[in-house]
Symmetry: C2
Subunit: 144 residues, 2 copies
Amino acid sequence: MKIGELARRSGLSAHTIRYYERIGLLPPPDKNASGHRDYDVSILTWIDFLGRLKATGMPVREMLRYAALREQGAGTEAERQAILEIHREHVRARLAGLRENLSVLDTKIAGYAATVSAGDPAQSKGTKDDDHDIEHSDHRHGAL
Amino acid sequence: MKIGELARRSGLSAHTIRYYERIGLLPPPDKNASGHRDYDVSILTWIDFLGRLKATGMPVREMLRYAALREQGAGTEAERQAILEIHREHVRARLAGLRENLSVLDTKIAGYAATVSAGDPAQSKGTKDDDHDIEHSDHRHGAL
DNA sequence: CTAGGACTTCGAGCGCACTCCAAGTCAAGC
DNA sequence: GCTTGACTTGGAGTGCGCTCGAAGTCCTAG
C-alpha cells in the first residue's frame, strides 16, 4: 500500500503520515524501487490505536515512548502496560471532570431557558448574569 | 482586589488574566489612582465558568463570542443559550468517544496483563503486538 | 514524446493559548 | 530617601501538532 492509499484508509493526510514517521510514531516502511513507501495493512491497526491515544489526550511525547517500546518488541510489555495504565487513570479523571462540567452546563442552560421564556422576570436593564449559578463549590481548573 | 490576589484566588497567572482581558474574555476592571487593576469578587464566578468552558474543550474563539454577548447584557440570552446548547452537544459527543476509547484501553491493558503474567505464551522473539486487539470496527478519529 | 499525477525530501509556516521579558511607575517599610 | 515588590504596558517568544510549499523524480496513459 502506498502512502496515498494509506492516507485515504487511515484518515490521516500523507503529510501527517510522513510527519509521524519523522518523529518516530510510525515505523519506517519498506520502499519500492522508486523509493516510494510501501505499507503493510497492519499499520492501520497501529494508526487506529494511535488515534485512540490521541483522542484520549495523550501527548505525542508519551505516544513516542510507547511507540519506541513497541519498536523494541519483546521484553517491553510491562512498561507499555504501565504507560497505558497511567494513561487510563488520566482518562478516567478527565471523564469525571467532563461529567461534572456537563452538569454545570445543564444548570446554566436551564437558567437561560427559565429567563428567556416567561417574559424575563429577573432581567430588565443590564443583566450580565452570573445568575442561575446555584453555587460553584471549589473545582480546580488550573491544570486542564 | 488587585491582580495578584485574583491570580491566587482564580488559579490563573496574572499574565494570563491580562491576556484574557486583552483578547476580551475578561471585562476591563476599574483602575485605582495608581493605574492598578481593581477587581470585584464577582469576576471569580465568571473566571470559574470560563474555566469550565475551557475544560470542556471550548475554543477561545467561541468563549469570546459568549463573553461579548455577556458584555452586551440584556437581550442576548437566547444567543448565549444557543451557544451553550451547541457546546453541550460537543461535550456529550466527547464523553461518548472517551468512554469508548477507555474501553479499548481496558481491553489492551487486559491483553498485556495476560501476556506479562503466565510466562508469556504468545511472544518469545519479536512481538511488536497489535495483538490482544479484539476487533476495531470503524471509528473516526480524524476530527478530535 | 509529453502531460499528469503520485510520490520524494527538506524546511518553513501556522494556529492556538499562553508565557515571558524589558522598562518603567508607584506605595510602603526601614 | 532608598530599597523592595507588586503593579503597568507593549511586544516578543514558546510548545504543540501539524500543514504546506518548493523542487525534483518516476510511472502511466494518450
